[in-house]
Symmetry: C2
Subunit: 219 residues, 2 copies
């Protein structure tokens, strides 16, 4: 029974890692589609979202089974609760990738300027935050988690700057209003992804520090 | 022990109901502040968000304790898992109320038109969805939950219409671009609140139908 339980926890972790890598890929692809105006890639992101949604349901079911049949306590319980929160954060990140991909598709149909360097910079930092949050989860490492938290304010500031600059661009070139609105939508979606990466990192810290506490207590 | 457990479940439910009523009030106030240009009310929403955040932590702690000490199964376990999801949905709704309140504050500083009737209509439906979702939770009623789901598409359509109309308004009156951007931000935040009310309703259905299944099984 005990060995079975350890295997179930491993399966749960593996599924979350797979889901995390799908979410990371969806964000990377949607951003690439947006920056390089690649409609084909954007459409791929939209059609692949179902896979991420299926993982959410699978993981939710696993959590119910684990809690009901194994009645875990302490560290294992914390891990499972963190898993449910990370699960719903990853599902939402998939949704934001779809939103960015939809804007990418809209933008290929609109004439207009290239996305600003600020959005490219936001995208770079957001992808890095998400990668680190998932890495922190895989290695159960609070220090990696803390690195994610530092960047949340940077993204908030960049988003404000992007919105402000695009509002000015609209004044200068009213014919680009529709396009600027899509750019703002992408910027706000990136900000939300950074928030969700931050939420994941917070769960990683909660999980990892509880383990540290437990280790100290056992000494 | 059994009686103690029932009391703990009741406390968890009561706390969620209190938190739900705070979130509902925050949305109602932020919308009123936006529609009636009341900076004072908007500032109240921003300063009250801490209360909702405190409930989130309190409820999370209660869930950990309940799972660790009582090791619930079946209906009770489903209720507790639904509670964690409703908890994080309500916390996010509080954040969206703050976003709407911030836009309300920005708008009182900007000259410009009154919010469109479409945003007022979105606000009305979104508040109704949230109220019904919380009602469904209180009465453990899947039928009320289902009523919420029907409105999600209505809100998505209204949001698209609002964004489209505001883009046209920007072309006609470039001096109102900043204001129109705030209106769009409010519209998108309302859309997210409607999504979250939908998530809560889905949890209510999951919870209530499991109970129905159990009752049938017991017959």
């Amino acid at each position: 029974m005990e060995r079975h339980f350890v295997q179930e926890l491993d399966t749960l972790k593996t599924n979350l890692i797979k889901m995390g890598s799908l979410a990371e890929q969806a964000i990377a692809d949607s951003i690439q589609a947006f920056l390089e105006r690649r409609k084909d890639l954007a459409e791929e992101v939209v059609s692949h979202d179902q896979e991420i949604n299926s993982f959410e349901i699978l993981i939710d079911d696993q959590v119910v089974d684990l809690l009901a049949l194994q009645q875990p306590v302490a560290t294992d319980l914390r891990f499972i609760l963190a898993a449910t929160k990370i699960n719903s954060a990853l599902e939402r990140i998939g949704d934001h990738a779809v939103n960015i991909a939809e804007s990418a598709i809209q933008c290929t149909d609109l004439r207009g300027a290239k996305p600003t360097l600020d959005i490219a910079e936001m995208a770079r930092i957001t992808k890095e935050m998400l990668r680190q949050a998932i890495d922190g989860f895989i290695h159960n490492d609070a220090a990696i988690g803390r690195r994610v938290l530092k960047n949340d304010d940077v993204i908030d500031e960049l988003n404000k700057k992007v919105v402000h600059n695009l509002a000015e661009a609209m004044h200068r070139s009213p014919d680009r209003i529709e396009q600027a609105l899509e750019f703002i939508r992408v910027s706000r979606n990136l900000e939300r992804v950074a928030d969700l990466a931050t939420n994941i990192a917070e769960e990683v810290i909660f999980m990892a520090e509880a383990r540290v506490v437990k280790h100290h207590a056992a000494e």
